[in-house]
Every structure is written in C-alpha cells, then in structure tokens.
C-alpha cells in the first residue's frame, strides 16, 4: 500500500535552516542553482539563535598580534590535536571574510572606538577574538542570514521533517519525509543534498539544546551509509542554569566569563585559579566543566550541585549593556538579579564535536551527492570545541558546502527515485500510529536521556558506559513498539517517535566509541584512564552502518604538513593544556 506523496524537484536540497544551512543555501543560490531549504521549525528559530557569545575570527581589531596561525593553533590545541588540520586551517583563514560578509548583508556588531568590529576574550582563545553583539550574537546572525535568504527568493519549506535519504546505488538523489502541519508525505528529488541539521544534545538529559537537536542529519546519513566521526566527543558547556528544575541546562553564555565573571565554590573561593592559574575562568570548556564537577564532588558545590558564577563586581551598568539577555533570563526564570547576586551554574551538554565525516574543502560526506556543514559535520573541533568557533564554522563550511554542492549538481543529472525506499520509509513513519504497540515516545526519550546522562556524561568509565549501552540497546527494542494516539495533523508525539530512532542510533555510536577510547582527551574524560594515550592521539574513531548494526573502526588522524606542524614546536602531549609554547606572545586580557 503506497500512501500518496508530493514530489518536488530541485538542484540543491538543504536540510536545516540554522546558520550553516542558510549560509549554504545563499552560496548555492548565488551560483544560479535552484535551492530548496527544509526546516523542522519556523524560519529563524533554529538553535543558532541560542549562540550568545560571539563569532571567533582573527580580525586583530583589538589585539593586532592576532592572525589565522594563532587561531589555528588555538583550535588544534583545544581539540587536543585529533582535529582535521585542514579544516582548522581553512576555518581560521576564512572566518574573518565570512564575518565581514555578514556586515554586507546588514548585520551589526559591537564596535571599537575607531568604528571597527569589537572583539571579546573567550575561553582558550589566545587573543580577544570574538565578534559579538552583546550576548545575542546568534540571533543577529540568524536574522541576517534569514533576511538574505528571503532577499534571494530561496524557497523555504517550514515545518517539514525529512527522515530518510533516497539513494540510487551509492549516490544520494533525494529525501523523503513529512509535512509536520498536516502530516502529508513529501519527497524531494535533488541533484545534491546538504545536511545542516545541527547536533544531538537532546540525547542527554541536561542540555542547552532545543527539541530539534535530535541528530537527524547524522542519523539519516548513518542509515544511508555515511561515516560518523568522533561520536564519543560530546561537549559539556561549563555553565548551564541549575535551578529551578524547569530551566536546568539552559545556557549561561561563556561571555559572562569573557566579560570578567568569576567562578566560585561554596566557600567563595575562585577555584579556577588552582585548576588553570594562567587562563583561569577562560580555560577551555572541557577543563572548566571538569573543574566545576570536581568541586561539587569534593563537597564544595552550591545547594543544587553547581558553582557560583559571579559578575556583581562588574557593576550593574556593564552587566545590562554587555549581558542583557542573561540579566533578563535570570531575573525572569530564576528570580535572581545578577547585578547583585551570583548565578548558580553547572555543566550542561552543549555541542557534538562528532558527526558526519566530510572532506575539508567541500563538506562532501563519504557518500556521493551528500554534503554536510555545521554541527552535523565533524573534524574541525577534534575532542573539544572552543567557544565562538561554532558560529564561524557555520559560516565558513556552510559557504563551502553550498559552493561545492552547486558545482557538483552542474555535472550530474537528476537521479532516479526508488519507490521501494519511499514506501519503506512511509511504513516506518506510520507504524507508531497504526501499530498495536504500547510504548510512550516521550517516556522512552526520557529514559534514553537518563541512561546517557548517567553512564556517558561528563565523567565516564567502562562500567557506566556498558550500562548505558545495555540501556540503549533495550530502548531500541522498545522503540519498535511505540504507539501514539491522534492523527497525523501536527502531532508532536508522532514526530518524537521518529526522532527517537535517530537518537537511539547515535547514542549507540557515542557509547561504543566512548568505550573504545581508553584514555582521557578533551571532552572525553575516563575516570579509569585518566591520562592521554599517545597512540590514541593519532586516531579518530569512526562508526558506520554494517547492514543495520553499528560498527566501529579507527582511522589515522590526517597528518599536518611540516610548515603547519612547525607552529606547534614540541608536540604538546602528556602535558596539561595550560602550557603554551614560548613562541607566542603573551595573551592580552581585559582586566578581570
């Protein structure tokens, strides 16, 4: 039985309308290709709006010593050297132009006294580097890109979800999914597909991610046969809200520390002075998150198991000017006036460094016709992403993927759609509505989040990871028996049922790779293997689909050419991150 569906034909199909998706669409459209953008929410609501701190780009406006080489080194060191060096290089080289380009689209950033773009310090960036607008940089970026997309007349299909890539042999030739509003099925026939679906933070319980962060792109790519790189690398942002319970996990921007905020334990001590005397509160995210965790473990946590983040010494005027949305957020949601009282914060799942493996120059995945950019792609950030590198990632690699997809589609014709694949996906989608199962999709999702938070969270060990794996495998079985009441018309329960399948697949990839990486590196912290293993520092883990099961393999980290390797002097292994080579001029910081 085939359900009816609408078929649309296009040159470049972009799935996802956050920063990366829109930047890709803009690039592809300006080459003259026909571009269709599909997004799960309304346009302009993507998770990019939650990025607050800024866009990292070595403009050197505030610290003239800054340049792409330093940014490149910071990124590689932050990622503990398992990054794709070529991506890190392109990213550092091109992000300044991408930022300036945004201004030509109408974006506005805070200015220096001489009228250039202002830059603020951020964790583990040697120089003041983050271009920002108060603490709502992501909103500025998404609105700017949205306006550009509209100005170019690009077709955007809002509230559509695509759930399966359609293939003709090894090439991706389209995708199938549904319209969330009326539940009708839609099929795209496209010469090239760009995935820009963001991350998978929703797999965990305490997360800064919106409901959309269910890893659709990685899930779809994985099912279609693309490789998933570094899945075990999941970033904890050190500062999420902790109290009241309803807001747990909501992001407290790193800009709070960038502007000079202190982290204190229950004894009022600035503990980061001990964990990283040099970079203090502005150490890399993995280090700060672990430090907070350790303080809590040692019994020096706040009443709800976190740390105090204090900006009261900055003065009310500066706080309201530089951190307006944080001020509002705490006042409204937690009854706390941050100009006179500290914020209570604890680590929250924030970002997936892992994702689909892509070619650095083009964003092409391991499948022909399939490109990926932004959080859904992996490689740039290695084992830990620096704050601000995400927004620049979206711009740099969004543009590259858009350009590459546009040029790819010029040389190929439309592929042939296989009805069997479409019918199969329709049946998968319909099962929760028509089947006789009895599982509740929301409660299964909560169970998954709980299992992952407990066993695969900030502090991992073999035992916990194996428990998580067991839980995930069991939930996969139960997910086959999900039942949702109601019709296909705007039915979030039904939507959750499909999202959950992606989440369960990715959860399995995360846990399996986390078990195999028997060392501590970046965001991956193993209590049973506290040291870095130089051998594992030379490999990335790859999860791939072997006839429906998750398999793992190792792949050597791409080797840097000598002239770049030289920037690092002695390879910084076995030493703690704060160590800096003497080549670099000392960091200039704003007075803390």
């Amino acid at each position: 039985m085939t359900e009816s569906f609408t078929t649309l034909t296009t040159d470049v199909l972009v799935i996802g309308a956050g920063g990366a998706g829109m930047r890709a669409a803009i690039e592809a459209a300006t080459t003259g290709a026909r571009v269709d953008v599909v997004c799960k929410s309304l346009l302009g609501k993507a998770h990019t709006v939650m990025a607050e701190g800024g866009i990292a780009a070595a403009l050197g406006n505030v610290d003239p010593e800054d340049n792409w080489q330093v940014h490149f080194q910071d990124t590689m060191r932050g990622g503990q050297m398992i990054n794709n060096w070529r991506m890190a290089q392109l990213h550092a080289q091109e992000s300044p132009d991408r930022v300036y380009e945004l201004e030509t689209y109408g974006a506005l950033f805070d200015r220096t006294p001489d009228g250039r773009i202002m830059q603020r310090p951020f964790g583990a960036h040697t120089y003041r580097r983050l271009c920002h607008v108060g603490d709502r940089t992501g909103l500025e970026m998404i609105r700017t890109l949205q306006d550009r997309v509209v100005a170019l007349g690009i077709d955007v299909h809002m509230e559509w979800t695509l759930t399966r890539l359609l293939k003709e042999q090894d090439r991706v030739v389209g995708a199938v999914g549904y319209n969330r509003v009326d539940g009708s099925f839609v099929v795209f026939r496209a010469k090239a597909v760009i995935l820009a679906t963001g991350g998978w933070g929703r797999i965990f319980k305490v997360t800064s991610n919106s409901w959309e962060g269910t890893g659709d792109g990685v899930g779809m790519g994985f099912e279609a046969g693309a490789e998933v790189l570094d899945p075990e690398m999941v970033q904890f942002h050190p500062t999420g809200m902790v109290w009241p319970p309803g807001v747990r996990g909501i992001l407290v921007t790193e800009a709070v520390r960038g502007e000079g905020g202190y982290l204190k334990n229950s004894e009022g001590k600035r503990f980061m002075l001990e964990y990283d005397p040099k970079k203090k509160e502005l150490s890399s995210r993995d280090v700060v998150a672990r430090s907070i965790y350790k303080e809590v473990q040692a019994g020096r946590g706040t009443p709800h198991g976190g740390a105090w983040l204090d900006v009261t010494h900055l003065g009310a005027e500066k706080i309201k000017k530089k951190l307006p949305s944080m001020y509002e957020q705490f006042l409204r949601l937690a009854d706390i006036d941050i100009t006179s009282a500290p914020m209570e914060v604890a680590p929250t799942i924030h970002y997936a460094m892992g994702g689909l493996r892509v070619e650095a120059e083009t964003g092409q995945t391991t499948l022909a016709g399939l490109f990926a950019a932004g959080e859904v792609a992996a490689g740039l950030h290695g084992s830990n992403r620096l704050g601000g590198n995400s927004l620049s990632d979206l711009l740099v690699f969004g543009r590259r993927a858009g350009a590459a997809a546009a040029s790819y589609q010029r040389d190929v014709g439309l592929g042939k759609l296989d009805d069997e694949q479409i019918v199969e996906e329709q049946q998968t989608l319909l099962r929760p509505l028509t089947g006789d199962g009895n599982e509740n999709p929301y409660l299964l999702q909560q169970a998954l989040q709980q299992a992952m938070q407990e066993g695969a969270g900030i502090a991992r060990d073999e035992k916990g990871l194996k428990q998580s794996l067991e839980a995930v495998l069991e939930l996969q079985q139960r997910a086959a028996r999900i039942h949702v009441p109601g019709s296909r018309r705007y039915n979030p329960g039904w939507h959750t049922a499909r999202d959950l399948r992606f989440m369960l697949t990715i959860a399995e990839c995360i846990v399996r790779a986390a078990i195999e990486r028997r060392e501590s590196r970046g965001a991956h912290w193993r209590l049973d293997y506290l040291e870095k293993d130089p051998k594992l520092g030379k490999v990335n883990f790859i999860a791939y689909n072997d006839q429906g099961t998750v398999k793992l393999k190792q792949r050597p980290v791409p080797e840097m050419p000598a002239e770049l390797a030289r920037l690092f002097g002695e390879e910084p292994t076995k030493t703690t991150p704060p160590e800096k080579t003497s080549k670099q001029p000392p960091a200039k910081r704003v007075p803390a």
């Binding site: 939650m50 300036y100 709502r136 957020q329 009854d335 009441p485």
Partner: protein, 372 residues
Amino acid sequence: MSTQIEEGSTTAAPAASTNGTIVLQVFRGDQTGGREERFEVPAQEGMVVLDAVHYIQAHYANDLACRWNCKAAKCGSCSAEINGRPRLMCKTRVDEFVNEEIHVAPMRTFPLIKDLVTDVSWNYQVNKRIPPFRPPENHPVPYRMQQEDVERLYEYRKCIECFLCQDVCHILRDHDEKSLYFGPRYMVRMAALEMHPLDTRHRTGLLHGAAGVGMCNITKCCQEVCPEHIKITDNAIIPLKERVASDYYDPVAKLIRRVRPKREPEGTDDTSASGDGAPEGVGTTRPPQRFAVKDVVRLKSGDKPFARIGSVRQDGKLEVWVLKMRGTQQHWKGPKVINTGDVTNNYGPLDEVGIGSKLFEQQLMEHEEHAD
C-alpha cells in the same frame, strides 16, 4: 540568595490548586472546532507554563500540538494567550497565578492549525515584501561604523519574531485588516532598515502605501506585550510615521530629502540646535512648518503628547486638542492655545496619517474653515 525562591515554595502550591498541583485549561481543537480541556500537573518550583504543557504532552495527551524551541525566551516560538494575554509560554511562571486556573489558548489573530499551534505564514509573506538592506555600491569592506550608530538599532534587532505584537494589534486582530497593514513586527524591521547607518533605500513609499503605517493609531498594545521590551510604538512606529509625514506632507523636508543624500539630515550633528533630547527619526533640522486644521502634531512639552489642530488663529498661535490615553482608550482634551514653536512635528491631516481613526467615533469639535 535563595531567599527569593523560598518565598514561593512555602505555599507549596504555587498556582491555582490543591496538593501541589496546577490546574491548566488548555485549548484543544482545530478549525472545525474545539474546547478547553482540564489537566492537573504536579507543581515544581520555578515551573513555567511550557513545562506544564510538556508534562501534559508526555503523560496525558501525546498529540497535544504546541510550538517551542529554545525554552529560554530567545527564539519566540511558544507564543500563546495565557489567561487572555499574549505571552511566551517559556517565560510565564505558573506561580504568577495564585488561586486561579491557567488558561492556555492559541493566538487568536492567526488561523488555527491545531491546539496551540496557529498558521503564522502570513507574517513570512509580509516579510518578503520589505526591500532588504542595500549598502552603498562599492563601499569599502570592512565597514566602519560608530558604536552609537549601531547601538540605536539594537532595540529593533532584539526582536525574536514571536508575533505576539502581531497577535495583539487590533488592526490585525479585531478588524482583520491584514491587507492594509504589515503589523508592528514589520514596522520594527523597517525601522531597523531605515535607520541602518549604511542602508541606501527609501521605504517611506511602501510605509505610506502597502505597509500602512498610517493604520496604526498608537494604542501601544504591541509594546505592552513585547517579551523583548521593544518600545515598538514609541521607537519604531512613531519615528516611521514621522518619516512618512515629512516625505509626504512636509514639502520642504521632502525637497531636502530628494536633493540631499538620505543620511545627511540626521547624520550630521552640526545642525542639532534645538537640544530637545535624542533625535527622533527625521531629526532636529526641521524647516518652518505650515499648519492646517485637522493636522496631527507632536508637542515639545513633557512627554511629547500628540495633538490635533482645532484652529489656526490670526496671531499665528494654534488652538489644539491634546491626545490623552486612558489605558487603550483615547480622548482629546482641550482646546489649548500654543505657539507654533511648541510643535516638534506635523504629521499632516488626521485621516491620512491614520492617527486616531477612532477620533470620529468621539465627540470632537468640527472646524470647517481652513485658516491657511
């Protein structure tokens, strides 16, 4: 610091309820009809309405439709009408409602899709009609702009497109004049574009015409509901009305704008003589004004009230009726005699500007003779 929180928790049941539960009446239905359904949700400290709706979704009604994304008042997805007031569900604490049930309904101005979800696509269609940012050709990149010039736009750029202002705007809501007025959100967007230091377009034609800035009669409902606290009427709509007024009703200013590049009149500060605070849209370089009966003007005094000219006297003074607001009710008080120098801006004839289209419903003195 936790003292503020404890206050709420001592009563154990923050909202309308007993035994630590909250009672919600949630609208359920679609275009064929619907009604409120009653749900009881366990209370939790600091809970917001969206939390309660999520609880209902997970435990009682898996298919309850609602939009949401960030849950931190940054994306503007979860707009709804809570106890009759347009608000974001993620920003509305349940402990605000002591001893009353919480009624959650979809936005009324837009067609219903299902439950709490409405079809807001009209807004996106309107947005497409606004000419985008256009910088000067061959302007050197990177741009140089001054902090104070960009900062002026931050208020507009804060908009999260929750469409609550569109929902509450009575032109769109009660009169359903969606073909005549773009609505507050797009006045904010146009204000941001018009005042961008490097934008080169003129949008007053559109504002005066299809966008219908004149439809707004300054009831300020939109800025009351804005979760980002944008002073939509004061800082976006009124300055746009002023621009339109000077382009369409003030022949001298119109000429100046034609002859000189757009940005000059307000960009140069050597002409700011009057010293009456921040420049408002058209700026401080006002040419001598002409007045006629029925013109709507703005007065310099105090909180800069609006007034309508009743008559222009032989000695050159004006007899005006001053606009007073009682909540959203307007009435005109007067007559009062003022000097022409007390006027900062002339918006032109009442009907054209649209200020107080309700005026005709009120008892006003009619003056037939035009003293000009």
